[in-house]
Amino acid sequence: MTASTALQESWSKLGKFAPTLPEPLLSVRDLNVHFPIRRGFVIQREVARVRAVDGISFDIRPGETLGLVGESGSGKTTAAKAVIQLSKPRSGSIKFEGQELVGLSTSAMRSVRRKMGMVFQDPYGSLNPRMRAGDIVGEPLKVHGLATSRDDYRSQIASLLSIVGLAPAMAERYPNEFSGGQRQRLGVARAIAAKPSLLILDEAVSALDVSIQAQILNLLQDLQEQYDLAYLFIAHDLSVVRHIADRVAVMYMGRIVETANSADLYTRPLHPYTQALLSAIPTPNPIHERSRERIILKGDLPSPLAPPSGCRFHTRCPIATDVCSMTVPELRSLAPDQRAACLLAPGYAESAI
């Protein structure tokens, strides 16, 4: 079976609106990442398990941005770590450029990682304070043997620094001499050093001040255009995600509850959780803010050790009925390029899986 027929098959499983678009760069199918909780002295018994990622599927096509959105504990970061195999999936498939990553050996994974850059949230914690900026940015070049000579190494670093808007002379400095925004630029320079095709951005702008955040978002957009990069953009802030993402997947307690292209998700959210998330964000417009009714969700996130039965959102859902606690909703195509997992969503009952 060729890759494309396998793909067609999985798409047809996904829904009736199988896209006729280029092959995905990254294709995740039914991914499960579970963390066992062990107790006991000599023999460690598994007493419980946290289903951090519980059967999610998504695609990212070349040059495209998928926004993965959710609150703390939704599993968005665990999903991203599974993509670069930093956390081991229990089951499922992760195909990158047609290659299956689940079960790949460490050495084979290393050469795949060259094609995947990662930018983390904390620009202070993710840069080694004892390394000079140049060596931080150049490390992927060393690891993957991408510099032909010392001079080549230096000139590649200089050009990477100028690409992200830093002066090449800053290569000699240490991370503590940089501001938060400049450090995040360093993190981006390191992530693109090995010329990847996919960048995983895990809350990459969340810790930055708004004026700096806007600069970094502009930088990311420029880089994407210039180098045809695909982004897996993980964030809790839906307003930031709208700005950068082509498509958005909303996660709640390990599952994707809604996925759609940006325009539809923001104008016509179908899942009550997406509606509540959007409604919870205050906009910088006093007239709009004071006239609008907000959906305020009751209660806290349930414990991931004992997730609610049926739809995991039913304990906080403003429209939940008895059926929601008994049946697990599937992600169904409810509109072109829009899928939601809500038993009560318009059209859910009539639609196919």
Binding site: V210, A214, H243, P282, P284, P286, L297
Partner: protein, 363 residues
Amino acid sequence: MNRLPLPPNEPGAARTKNADALMTEDPPTSSPPLLQVRDLRTSFHTPHGDITAVAGVSFDVAYGETLGIVGESGCGKSVTALSIMRLVPNPPGVIESGEVLFEGADLLKFSDKEMEAVRGDGIGMIFQEPMSSLNPVLSIGRQITEPLEVHLGLKGNRARSRAAELLDMVGIADSRRRLDDYPHMLSGGQRQRVMIAIALSCEPKLLIADEATTALDVTIQAQILELMKNLTSQLGTALVIITHNLGIIARYADRLNVMYAGMIRESGTAEQVYMTPAHPYTIGLLNSVPRLDRPASDRFDPIPGEIPDPGNLPSGCAFRPRCRWATGRCEGTEPVLEPFGDRQKVACFESGAVARSSQVAWT
């Protein structure tokens, strides 16, 4: 939840009525304000030199109103709050000069003991990190009853039932039993609810919330903010919301101060500052925020450059190196906050031109 959880014969009851009456009038002109901060200056003396965190800040808070203080990291918004509470860590922090008049009395002249009475009784404060503000080895009941004993003289069972009432008030179910819980048994949102219960336990006239919801998830953030706003308006408590989030201020604040590099750069009602911003920094901030209330834009028009090092501020207007309207005059002289139209104030020599261009941008 809707009933005012005031014990009988408490002066707070009268206070609430008073504040309601005031709310119908124009608060800043009808009576002396609750809080008047005058030319407040706070510095930190560090081995690497002196840092002026608050460089001459003046503003008022009227009885019962909600004031927002907005700005990015290092702008001095939190140090302003800590200075009002006299909680600036010393050393290295020193309140150099100014006045903090709370109901007419200058808190900066108070003894430590007098100040202790003001904290909690007069002014309550909620911080960003509820885990580090709560004592991990004391039950939450103990932590709520402590201010009730110290400030209100409630003892034993009376204090305990009042504490349970307070937990009810902040929306923690099964309150009697929860009094024996320890902070680690609560979620982040519940801890912040407990912090609100403690801060409001003695019915202060002013509540300061310093990035109180920043660490919380958006859906929990919305719960906590609604709770804070509803309780303070029920109790007639004035509220100062300190945040970097322009959306929160737009929703909850009557008036706001925009701070940058230790000074207020623009102030006014929320409508004025958001709809007709007249300081280049305010405009830059508004252009940097992704906005769900407008069509998606392709690119941001962000403020260029970096937030300046507070130990090494540029001469003249501190915003000058990042400002597209800056002229030679901005380099030599620091602009002061001056009235701009009705109740709006701006610290910018070019405010007229800036405001005109911002109106063009809006239409």
